[in-house]
Symmetry: C2
Subunit: 575 residues, 2 copies
């Protein structure tokens, strides 16, 4: 019987509640509903009235392939709007084994209160003293938790960035390899956890209640169909496992959409130095691993283990967006410098996209030279300390722009853009513009039809078809995020005749509740409506659905395309 | 024949233009019209597309008492909305003597370009090398300009805060005593001038064209009526000249509306130490001056000269809001420390209200101890340097709150509140909420009827009547700001039967154009409409007309009043 666990971080009271009004919701649909219904839209994100929700998807705990993502929802310190950021790792798969659908963290103690580690069993919650890990980076702190709780540790935690309430702060989750390498990356969710004085959340390793599909035989059949769909598509079966997401460096560069030097150019001269091919070659030479999964049940395996020059583990979950942000956008050529920054971001608990863009802004402001990886590394190390430069860098692009006097800021709703220039990939541009999340490629990945030829073809340089493309992808993605699926299943689903039906079949047979394709679409659309409603009440207007002015007036080489949608033209992409 | 001077700060081209579509506008009505019509609402405030407009009022250059205020308009770096900030000093009175109604600064050079001093005559503009004053504080830099241009210097300039593009940066104007002590204080206008690489603007001392009223006899009669109105009212003839605006410390404290310790309390235990009475006593003991005017033709004389312990000049234009911000809100008891900070703010070119609130936020965040004036002084000195702490402090309350993790931020539209707690003075609270300027007491000073019994009486603790009060004051104020009047004339006008008619008579007889009381009201209302239109197109919605959440849920002692208007209830205060 799934339950919602509510924890008051000030009084330390807690309650395991029935799901009540939140029945038939999961993942993003659940976090966004709770935030929209329960959090005053105009509260400060770091104030006592904000809440942090951690939820498993509708398929959480099941054996359906790639269904183990965990959703984190809150009012974002970065955007001031609603936020759902999801992550791999073991947390979402574990929650149902404790009969937990969601954990809702409420209220906060005085700022001078000590940090706690929340130890959660299936019947109680303990606020344990966290003095031994406070101030520590995530990897060493996670090692301490491993030593204390054993190899079956399943934890969520914040690093120094979250402790110091930085807007780039992530929540890091234990991955299948005993590392805190999976991130709910965007929007500063870690700062909200920090404001509630929670350093880590540990799920009791001793509790592992049995989880089974209600309609076991139907579920088993659907599961097989599902795995075959994923294994038959070239992107999910070859591209992603072979080179990780970094396979995109050359692809997006070739398309003239790889934002370079703080979004000045669409191609980067040193793309080959930071490509997925180069990464795979480097990993193999150093005896790392080119393929790993980020959560139980993953059949795509797009993660990896990247070793340093000595062959020692350096980082994993080393994504295209990270490599792009530091590599192309901040002009850093050395893949080892970039990998080091990825590790620092995981250790401090910072969003690599926001931080990479921030480094580019710092370079634009003359704080450090363009392309200087070593100087960038030193900047990153300041975050989480009492150095005011770290306060600035740790708060992301807008804070850095304001501090350094840079007016070229590639942000929407104060969140910086990922690795696709919207001028040349307008399908994802419409998503950046209209999603309640701020600039976010994962909210409706129009790169599919604009560049990859997946799910049809829509010209990314022209307006035609891109609002509809973005809308359809946004709805589908919100559903995917609510079921607990990894977004990458979309590649296969978009090109599969029965992909969507199979997802619906999985949910229906797992939960025992009727769940049609229409229900799936409604799940996604309703999540978006909750998010849009919250943002409207938080003060966003349709004008906030514009991209930065410089993209309207400055053509992007080499294709010399500008952003020519106004706010009215993109409203159709909303639910 | 009044003209508009347009200067391109990148190409250094300029043109003296007829006023064309901007006929019959002046001051704020003119700056807001130009910004609304000519600046893309979604541009970055520090980008080339933003403009900075300096305008004299409809009565600029005339001998009408207290009509010499200068308006500065731009898209605000602090709020992201439209901004008009006006100042005393000699600039507005001088412009008509050069046949100038407005100066419009457009475009900007590369950020690495050197700063210039603009030397403006009645027929040409020179970009002069400013190397000798770049990086200098306003007082010493102004002394250098005095040495170069002589005692008839009339200048506008920025200090290190403006040069470094800080959001609190002011533009300082030459006052009648050869000091750069008058500020267009709010909203970061100085950063816009800095972005255009202009350190100072000097109006040619040699040009002094004759300015005369078109209907000379009528004007002369109206002028006499006008002076008598000002001289008959106790506030403008006794309260303000006697103690300066600081007369309000005890008055507002007594009313329980003096925001104390970052807006936690409505009364301050050490109010007597920072009162106008104490200030006057100190000034007299040190042989300063208790009364001075800020511009030619002032008959109110609310300014002063505040000397240090050695009897040497320290500061002037030492306002109630400044004393409150550092004294009550940041809990600093020593009036000399506060005066020193006032001077530092004038020297660096920073808004004392925003900076005082920022110091309180820094104290709330544990950066320096509460009430520590010496530590606060050291913080202020960092602004304009390359110290990242100075970047944070110089960017105001929101930047400081974000950097220091403080969620108690007394701001509306990102501009911090002045010296009147809106929970206890709801008339001014409605103004904070609804004016396009962000929290700004000067946009509609409801303290009049709420506390001072001027212009009637409206209970400041209750909702009733306060929306109407604010609306009427906002329209009147916008008209006052457009004619070039000092806001303080409103005290007398509100209690005078023929005050408004006299103002209209002055404009009609001075300009020779028909100008009725209805025209006066329309002038104000249309200025507000321009401002509201711009802000809406810049992304503001009516939700932005709420006050900070903490004021909705936290009663203010001693009267235990909260802010209980929602955004819909205050819309009636808009034009």
């Amino acid at each position: 019987m799934p339950r919602i666990l509510r924890i008051n971080c000030r009084t330390k009271e807690y309650a395991f509640e029935e799901v009540g009004p939140y029945v038939n919701l999961g993942g993003r649909a659940l976090t966004s509903r709770i935030i929209n219904k329960e959090v005053p839209a105009n509260c400060h994100p770091l104030s006592a009235e904000n809440k942090l929700v951690i939820a498993t998807g509708l398929l959480g705990g099941s054996t359906a392939a790639n269904s183990g993502r965990v959703s984190v929802g809150t009012k974002s310190p970065l955007t001031g709007g609603i936020k759902e950021s999801n992550s791999g790792g073991l947390f979402a798969h574990k929650m149902p084994k404790m009969d937990l659908l969601a954990i809702v963290l409420e209220d906060k103690p005085a700022q001078e209160a000590p940090f706690s580690t929340l130890f959660i069993t299936d019947e109680k919650v303990e606020f344990r003293n966290a003095d031994d890990i406070v101030g520590m980076d995530n990897y060493p702190a996670h090692d301490k938790l491993l030593a204390e709780y054993g190899d079956k540790l399943v934890a969520a935690m914040i690093g120094p960035a979250g402790e110091t309430l930085r807007k780039t702060a992530t929540i890091q989750f234990t991955d299948p390899y005993k590392r805190p390498a999976r991130s709910a990356g965007r929007g500063g969710t870690g700062a909200v956890l920090g404001s509630k004085k929670i350093k880590a959340i540990v799920l009791d390793p001793a509790v592992n209640n049995k989880v089974a599909a209600v309609e076991a035989d139907t579920f088993k059949a659907a599961r097989t169909t599902w795995v075959n769909i994923l294994k038959e598509h070239p992107v999910t079966s070859q591209g992603l496992p072979g080179f990780g997401t970094a396979v995109l460096v050359n692809v997006i560069n070739e398309a003239g959409a790889l934002p370079t030097k703080n979004f000045r150019y669409g191609q980067c001269d040193h793309a080959a130095d930071i490509s997925g091919e180069k990464m795979a070659e480097t990993i193999e030479a150093r005896k790392g691993k080119t393929t790993e999964g980020c959560h139980v049940g993953c059949v795509i395996q797009c993660s990896q283990q990247y070793n340093d020059k000595n062959g020692d583990y350096l980082t994993s979950g080393f994504e295209y967006e990270t490599i792009w942000a530091f590599g192309a956008n901040a002009m850093i050529k050395d893949l080892d410098d970039i990998a080091t920054m990825d590790r620092i971001c995981d250790d401090k608990g910072m969003d690599t996209i926001e931080i990479g863009n921030t480094v580019a802004v710092a370079m634009d402001g003359g704080i450090i030279p363009w392309g200087d990886g070593k100087a960038a590394i030193e900047l990153l190390k300041k975050v989480g300390t009492d150095d005011p430069m770290g306060m600035i860098i740790g708060n992301g692009v807008v804070a850095a722009g304001d501090a350094f006097g840079v007016d070229r800021l590639p942000v929407v709703k104060s969140q910086s853009m990922p690795a696709y220039d919207p001028r040349a990939v307008k399908g994802v541009g419409v998503t950046y513009a209209t999603t309640a999340m701020g600039a976010d490629h994962t909210a409706g990945y129009g790169v599919t039809a604009n560049v990859l030829g997946v799910g049809g073809t829509v010209d990314g340089h022209k307006k035609e078809g891109n609002v509809e493309l973005s809308k359809n992808l946004q709805v589908a993605t919100a559903a995917i995020d609510s079921m607990g699926f990894c977004l990458f299943v979309a590649f296969a689903v978009l090109d599969s005749e029965n992909g969507v039906q199979t997802m619906a079949d999985l949910v229906q047979s797992y939960t025992g509740n009727a769940f049609s394709v229409d229900d799936l679409v409604a799940l996604g659309a309703n999540a978006m409506k909750d998010e849009q409603d919250f943002n409207e009440r938080a003060g966003f207007s349709k004008v906030d659905d514009r991209l930065p002015r410089f993209m309207e007036i400055e053509p992007l080489p080499p294709h010399d395309v500008t952003w020519d949608f106004d706010e009215n033209e993109v409203q159709g992409a909303k639910a």
